[in-house]
Symmetry: C2
Subunit: 360 residues, 2 copies
């Protein structure tokens, strides 16, 4: 589908070499090569979340993608600072969770030593130089300047998320080619990096125009955008593109347990921003651990250390058919998601948005 | 300005007898007759917040309005249930605030006995029958069925705010003529009434289309809407009108202290949803009392009892030129508000929105 002429803006299409200004949100643990292929083939920008992958896994996923599409792709990395080890804090968190370990027949002293979430580093930078993705997006700010310079030298366009006007200005000053304005409706980890105060975070409708007014680079609206009405709204707010995650969660390409998938379909579920799974605030379905220990805990260890404690609880409880301890990332518009393949979702979102824009 | 033909929907114009689908949000303590007159004369719907008024004050304000405009108006009432007196809770809250009383030279035992926020009752119902406003809007759900029936019998159209799909369905079933979908960007008190869990509340961009899909009556988008881009976005989301408060806060008609007005102009200020001023969650600038005792406190007394404690702190601290204890209600888009008269704000929002809608 080629529709450059009728989208309100073609800035992102030109910058990324895509046809449809829809970026599939990287969703670590859920979105793999098959989703990237579907979205990119529909003319959008598929994103591969690399945070939970080894270098070999990234290479393998990208090779799989490249065998099936020649379209532009985005590689996404976390760039958090290394957490401070804090034995006292960990002991406190263990005390909060201990009765769950006992309930599930687990040994609370036997938590894994590693969290499996690496931050972007020099080795990953070498990998980017080798794989040459068209776009590299970061979450939690940007890596150090020399790494950013090396990524830019590969020719990749650089993106990151802002949750405040201040963060947007910072990212522009540091050389981002475009900025994702992430409203608090968004599922998964908030990209916030100059503040840790969740209480002052803005909704997408408020944030996007304020960011648009504050930077010169194009702005990508994110957070709660799951249908064509919301994409049209994002353009009205001044965005040049949208980043969409939750709308793809019910696609067959989304890899998740049947329990998680069923929870996403359950209308009564609600989401909350919680730090109890990983240590950083992220939006997920408000299940038992979120309600009982959060949603925001002062005791949870720094990101990503908290995931060492939640992971064994999750595994044991899922084995019993329960999602009480499963991080079920979701944005606020999951009700609007459709159970269709990623390619079709992208095509429909594009054509329905253009239909709205042409009649309004 | 007549523009029925070019707004995407004329449902609200027809329902209320107005020309412009912009409702000025009732803002108790800030918006008085002069703001209502300005907005209604511009073709929108001016709203008089009655929560802090006596019956005589309401009559006086309405008489002032009626002398200067024959346009439709909205009278707004709180309809909270009477709070439970809880001596232990009040003692706990006093302990939290005691050092502020000492700091300001106040006697912590001498808090006022009344909070001054009356809920809609039979006497107010008589007043509505006498004053015959075109629209009556409620906050915190609806009053009891017999009162709703009496208000409807006066010919008034009835509105209330929903913060969830469940609340929207409830309001429709109870006979509301239209529903305000209030996203969490909104300034002032959240209208939530079937839940008290702020953590699961939705942003406007997520909430509005989900409410539109769930009810048959027209939906009014509210929360963070301060400029024409956001109004156009609300229509794209399926709203038939918008309710706007914060955009009027810098108008000369907004009655507030110079301290509050200056704080609204201060770019570095942020807002948070807090219950420390009144006992109910409401969005305000995150000042000292919000940051130090909230934003959400488990100890604050039920609405409106907490205001008995915050009021004397506010008065004493404002006398010293400080806003440390002032409830400075504001939505998340105050940066987009303009310092113009209410009538001109309304006219400009309407014409700029129509310009966006005609070119998108």
């Amino acid at each position: 589908m080629r529709s450059d002429a009728i989208w309100p803006s073609d800035r992102m299409q030109n910058l990324f070499g895509i046809d449809v200004p829809i970026i599939q949100a990287p969703m670590a643990g859920v979105a793999f090569s098959e989703m990237v292929i579907g979205v990119s083939e529909a003319g959008g920008l598929g994103s591969l979340a690399c945070a939970l992958f080894t270098a070999d896994q990234i290479i393998e996923e990208v090779e799989t993608i490249r065998r099936q599409t020649s379209r532009p792709i985005n590689l996404n990395f976390f760039c958090h600072r290394a957490p401070k080890a804090d034995a006292e804090r960990e002991a406190g968190w263990k005390r909060v969770l201990e009765h769950y370990f006992v309930e599930l027949g687990l040994d609370p002293t036997a938590v894994p030593s590693a969290s499996g979430r690496g931050a972007f580093d020099s080795a990953m930078c070498d990998l980017v130089a080798e794989l040459k993705p068209n776009v590299v997006s970061f979450h939690f700010g940007l890596p150090e300047k020399t790494l950013v310079a090396r990524v830019k030298a590969t020719g990749a366009k650089i993106l990151s998320s802002a949750t405040t006007v201040q963060e947007a200005r910072w990212l522009e000053a540091e050389g981002c080619h475009a900025i994702i304005a992430q409203g608090l409706e968004a599922g998964g980890h908030r990209g916030m990096f100059l503040t840790d105060d969740v209480s002052t975070q803005m909704g997408t409708l408020s944030l996007v125009p304020q960011v648009v007014d504050s930077v010169k680079v194009p702005v990508i609206a994110a957070g709660g955008i799951s249908d064509a009405r919301q994409i049209a709204a994002a353009f009205a707010l001044g965005a040049a593109a949208v980043q969409i995650g939750t709308a793809y969660l019910l696609s067959p390409e989304a890899r998740m347990s049947p329990l998680y998938r069923q929870a996403l379909r359950t209308e009564a579920n609600q989401t909350a921003v919680t730090n109890v799974f990983t240590g950083r605030p992220a939006r997920a379905i408000a299940n038992r651990i979120v309600r009982e220990t959060g949603p925001l805990s002062d005791v949870a260890p720094d990101f990503p250390l908290a995931s060492r404690f939640s992971a064994p609880l999750r595994v044991a409880s899922e084995a019993k058919g329960s999602t009480d301890f499963t991080p079920m990332w979701s944005g606020q518009s999951v009700r609007l998601a459709r159970e269709r393949p990623a390619r079709e979702i992208t095509q429909r979102l594009a054509s329905e948005t253009l239909a709205i824009l042409s009649t309004c």
